[in-house]
Symmetry: C2
Subunit: 402 residues, 2 copies
């Protein structure tokens, strides 16, 4: 039975990317099954439980019969709670109609692009960065224009010149992930301000990916949406995943200008009807109830960050910032690779896994290398590994490096 | 602050449809708030609780820490359970890799089209039918080619001649919703067989929307996927929503050829990471645990169907089949409209709501009228209204018609 044409995939499927980090996860799993100890720094997932009050709210909602369909853009109570939360944290006024609840943060990326990007439109996005930006831009027919980072004093900075140089008359959208995966970087005030001015000068609409907004250990998060003139051209990606250890619950939201949000909610009608009804009530409790669970999560993460940074800095050939936010580290391992005579990222990753059990992603899991890129980086996530195992694993990596 | 271009929506947004039934729901709600009784036949939602064993399984899964990410295409246990269930009911062999778990049935429509339809490809779909077919075909750049139904002896039949006549060299896909929303129709064996032959003759790939597969009161559901040669060119849309009263949980699946399912799972990576983790464990319990909950749901629905059909048949100017499946009725109301001197669907709907409280959708909520369409139909859903209120409401409609 030959079916040559019927099941031939559409041309766009050839442009669809993925998260190659899943392959690292699979390899680490395979290594474990062979009886080896693995120190999992490759995961962006969390090993911490969702706070009890949030779990209880979900249980109550199921018992109360919140198991049928609900409004496509979310229950009014959650839209209002999210609007209030983001208004307060951003010092910008949002109302319920500025919010469309989503099954996670990731759906906001697709819906932002579907709503605003025509085929051929150019979209600026960070590289290294969350790989789904590039995948969805290209899948949906846009032109992906990467911008990089340069090492700064406290952390990486945007390669601002590169951003400006990349802008053409076809550039319509800018994806900005302050509190950045994979680097943990965040922009100083003047950088955010300059980026806002650039967006207005070139009439760009911005996706502000704020997935790690509340995952911070000191200081205060800042958003491009709070800059003068930016509220009307920014869509915020909000997610409950990290702050409340709810990655597998799938709850997030798009927050932005009312007209765009209405289109995004119509995409919800078409794509998923609604986000799981009772989980939205858990979200209301997360935002408005007792915050000690979120605070506890943050305490654990801070301890892990310090343990990891302290040890990484003792490894010869490794340089590492101590980010104030996110649960990622992006150390420069150029020296380490030279010491060990390893020529490629893959050799480094395999050697570290097999000789120390430490498993991590490399720069290449977050985008193709940019022209002129000299230094080598890896990404360590400390959201899915205990402080004790961080010390043990990075201790072994240190011994190996020496 | 003028932002003329940045927030201008993409061209495709102009081609995005919606479910206009939500407007009916809003109107009925408004009428209720004014103090009137409303008999809600417009909803495809269910007023029945999810069976206890399924709820308990969800609770257990949360307590067991199933709150982190899980595989993009679904947990192996649910993929296996779904493959086993559908293999048994379809008499076709599916394995776990033939299944991609989805947040509902609706996501299968978009993912099927994204995977297989290039811009300009023609897609046959039922009209009247679930409005999202047409919306997504056009939104994603395809050409929507509707096919209708003709009254048969037991129920509506496919307008087979129209299907055949509509096929051109650009026709690539066929959407077939046996156990049909809104008519409640299902194809006799020979019709399914003829459709399967047509699909193979013209090398079409088929989306078999089986959302109501298990919502049946007598007889046995049949799938085009079970026809010789069709397994390799059919993607089944499965949903837990109706059988287990889980509409607001958002759990479903795409089942089909392994290569297509792998692409669909890569779309899951890009669009939503995964379906809610602990809800998938509830799905395992639904499929493999005690079925008395689902049986109870069916008993209630059967009673409602009979009450509704019996009363509708007493209304002068109304003709109604008694479908063996789904929870929809699609009576011919041509005579009723003539009797009452109502010229348009909207006049009928408003008059019935305001003079009897009975709220329903009309044929136009399920697609634009086809050329030559003479008779008038409305759709009554009995999934969200008790037998008592069915009798009361349709009794009032009967009095009004006389």
């Amino acid at each position: 039975m030959s079916t040559p044409r019927a099941t031939a995939v559409a041309e766009r499927i050839g442009r669809l990317g993925t998260e190659t980090a899943f392959a690292v996860s699979a390899e680490a799993g395979e290594w474990m099954r062979l009886g080896h100890t693995v120190y999992p720094f490759h995961l962006g997932d969390m090993d911490l439980p969702t706070p009890e009050n949030i779990v209880d709210a979900a249980f109550r909602a199921i018992r109360d019969g919140k198991t049928g369909y609900c409004p496509n853009g979310g229950i009014p109570e959650l839209r209002e709670a999210l609007a209030a939360d983001v208004s307060a944290s951003h010092d910008v006024a949002y109302a319920a109609e500025n919010v469309a609840v989503q099954p996670g943060g990731k759906p906001v990326i697709e819906k932002f692009l579907l709503t605003l990007m025509d085929p051929g439109d150019e979209v600026l996005y960070p590289n290294p960065g969350f790989p789904i930006y590039e995948s969805q831009i290209e899948f949906l027919g846009g032109v992906a224009k990467p911008y990089g980072f340069v090492p700064g004093e406290k952390n990486f900075l945007l390669d601002f010149d590169a951003i400006e140089a990349a802008i053409t008359p076809r550039t319509k959208l800018l994806i900005f992930n302050n509190l950045h995966n994979p680097t943990g970087a965040e922009s100083p005030d003047e950088e955010i301000q300059a980026l806002a001015e650039l967006a207005q000068k070139h009439d760009l609409c911005v996706l502000s990916d704020e997935a790690y907004w509340d995952v911070r250990y000191s200081g205060r998060s800042r958003s491009i949406a709070s800059q003068p003139g930016m509220r009307e051209r920014t869509v915020i990606l909000y997610t409950f995943s990290k702050k409340y250890a709810m990655t597998g619950w799938r709850l997030g939201g798009a927050i932005g200008p009312r007209d765009l949000i209405a289109h995004i909610a119509t995409l919800n009608v078409n794509q998923e009807s609604c986000t799981t009804h009772f989980i939205q009530w858990a979200g209301v409790e997360a935002l408005t109830g007792d915050q000690s669970g979120a605070e506890g999560i943050l305490r654990v993460l801070r301890e892990r960050r310090d343990a990891a940074v302290d040890l990484l800095r003792q490894i010869p050939g490794v340089d590492c910032y101590r980010p104030d936010a996110t649960f990622y580290l992006f150390p420069d391992v150029t020296g380490l690779m030279e010491r060990k005579g390893l020529a490629t990222y893959d050799e480094l990753r395999r050697a570290a896994l097999e000789q120390t059990g430490v498993s991590f992603c490399t720069r290449l899991h977050f985008g193709r290398a940019l022209p002129g890129e000299q230094k080598a980086y890896v990404r360590l996530a400390y959201s899915g590994i205990s402080t004790e195992l961080i010390r043990e694993g990075l201790g072994r990596l240190k011994d190996w490096a020496r």
